[in-house]
Symmetry: C2
Subunit: 352 residues, 2 copies
Amino acid sequence: MNARRPTISDVARTAGVAPSTASVVFSGKTPVSEATRAKVLAAANELGYLGPDPRAASLRRGRSGIVGVVSGGRLGSVFGDPVMRITMDALADAVAPIGAGLLLLREGSVVAGGPTLMTAPIDAAVLIGCSGLLREHLAGVRGRGIPVVVIEGDGGADVPRIALDNREAQRLAAEHVRDLGHTRVVAVTMPFRWGSDPGWLSPDDERATSVDVVADRLAGFRDVFPDAAAYAAVDSSIDAGAAVGRALFGGDGPRPTAVVAQSDLLAVGVLRAAEEAGLRVPEDVSITGFDGIVVDGLAPYELTTLVQPAWEKGRAAGETVVALLEGDTPDSQWFTSTFRRGNTTASVASDS
Amino acid sequence: MNARRPTISDVARTAGVAPSTASVVFSGKTPVSEATRAKVLAAANELGYLGPDPRAASLRRGRSGIVGVVSGGRLGSVFGDPVMRITMDALADAVAPIGAGLLLLREGSVVAGGPTLMTAPIDAAVLIGCSGLLREHLAGVRGRGIPVVVIEGDGGADVPRIALDNREAQRLAAEHVRDLGHTRVVAVTMPFRWGSDPGWLSPDDERATSVDVVADRLAGFRDVFPDAAAYAAVDSSIDAGAAVGRALFGGDGPRPTAVVAQSDLLAVGVLRAAEEAGLRVPEDVSITGFDGIVVDGLAPYELTTLVQPAWEKGRAAGETVVALLEGDTPDSQWFTSTFRRGNTTASVASDS
DNA sequence: TTGTATGCGTTATCAA
DNA sequence: TTGATAACGCATACAA
């Protein structure tokens, strides 16, 4: 016996119909008489045929039903951020109706040999929180005719973007802090480059910041505090924020009276470090976050932060992908964050 | 001009070589003289050819470089669990060397039309934390010759498993609690069915529990407390645990003196609810978790829990996939958890 | 080291 | 409603 798996031609032959007819029975794209449908199904059953081979179907159709999602860093750190999870969730929902799923791709391959934008059979790509370095790769994918959507970043002229008012929003937080009278203020940023070390941002670092979201939020901060110091965390997590906070509060130098963090997770970490250092929030130090996520166990604190529409961003990205695949030319979409005053900010203490 | 994208044949023709030669230049599977390589590359450049089409290559090779990862529930809730993130991260690392990436597939499609095990061009599938219901689908994929690996579950006779000693480990926790003198003990479980409602588990529910990991851990608990009540959470998260905790501690009935939770996140939620209810941990109520993850902001508590090797499990799953794709017949692997005593358990108070 | 020939399994197009 | 035909773009076995 032949160990070869049955193909749709085998089924057609057994059923006594043309391959194209058998194909149509499975795809349902054309009406088929009940009689032939039954014959074909019977033959398929007899031969153990389980339906069209997705690989062959992709070649023929020119569609694989796969959307590549490129993000910086490891899965663990990317999905550790609730905003990212929500965004991805909405994205997955939005592309599901066209039968598409998400293929996880990592910028700057962590492990050699992994799949890339150029080698994976993707129909479209979504870049999320990637560094600008990735733009070169974009040329390749786009040259192939693969649509690209960029979330929180700039993919170049005609790459639709899903953007957030990072700069304006972060400026709001900075202004809030300034209006409370703070002058010794420090910005805590997310990593400015994939895999960058934590530490104070030098002017060079700052100029070389390649992650748009980091650069934009920092710019908003700089609009208000042009000369303040900025400290980059190793990633956007509570742990990373706590590490930064220990550096800020543990030293002998003058302590900041306010910290403007680029994410809620970082802010919570800083807050924990402040508590560890015996500082009261907001009396001794004011802290702002960014994202507007719910951090469990934070009570009685409620972070002063900027609430961003993460779900909507993901949905919009997915819908943009769908539109592009249908040949439309969707516009970029800008979303706005909402300032939410919590109880982690207060006027600067007169004696501090 | 023809808008058609150049193919490798076009490149070969322009370079004045055979298609197979041009192919080899890109795949590097066979030595090519420097001269022809240069010719081919020049031609490719001239035509704007960007390398082999991954879809065509998959058909020809019979490999797409895609591993489907099936999990229950939404992305957000799946990746909300640190154990899952670590496992997926390790899995991604382990399959990267063969050029494979992870395609996210959801059990019980949340949204109609999404990709499925049968329609996605996958080379292999990894089931993780799925319900037993999925086993039917397994027949289909396996019939296609697609290797399957199951993490924390049973895929049937010759499906390699990556297993954890859930029952034995959970029994250890239960014994610990029993040895501390507790008799009013409640188990808090993860959802016993995808999308199941939270609430007390009836005997019927318990019999119908289709998620192996839930059933196994519950069995371990039952080995020690055959008649204790069990309460199912809506997912494995702090919030879900807190909701359960409020139900346990908020009522008028007799309060449990110990809670055996099926995950650390649930345990932390229960702990928070206990605090809310004005109970002291561990004086008034003892709590155990499962997983051994680091939950930030939990200090001064250190959960009494079972530490499981999440990374190793993910790696093992990935390596098993690779072995299967190479035609080997790898064995299942069993991993063990380690009991870790924290400060969330204590002897039952004499007056309680 | 290069070229020739073939088929991977399907589906779109068109004509019957 | 069905069937014949022709790609889809590539990579391999084998011969030269």
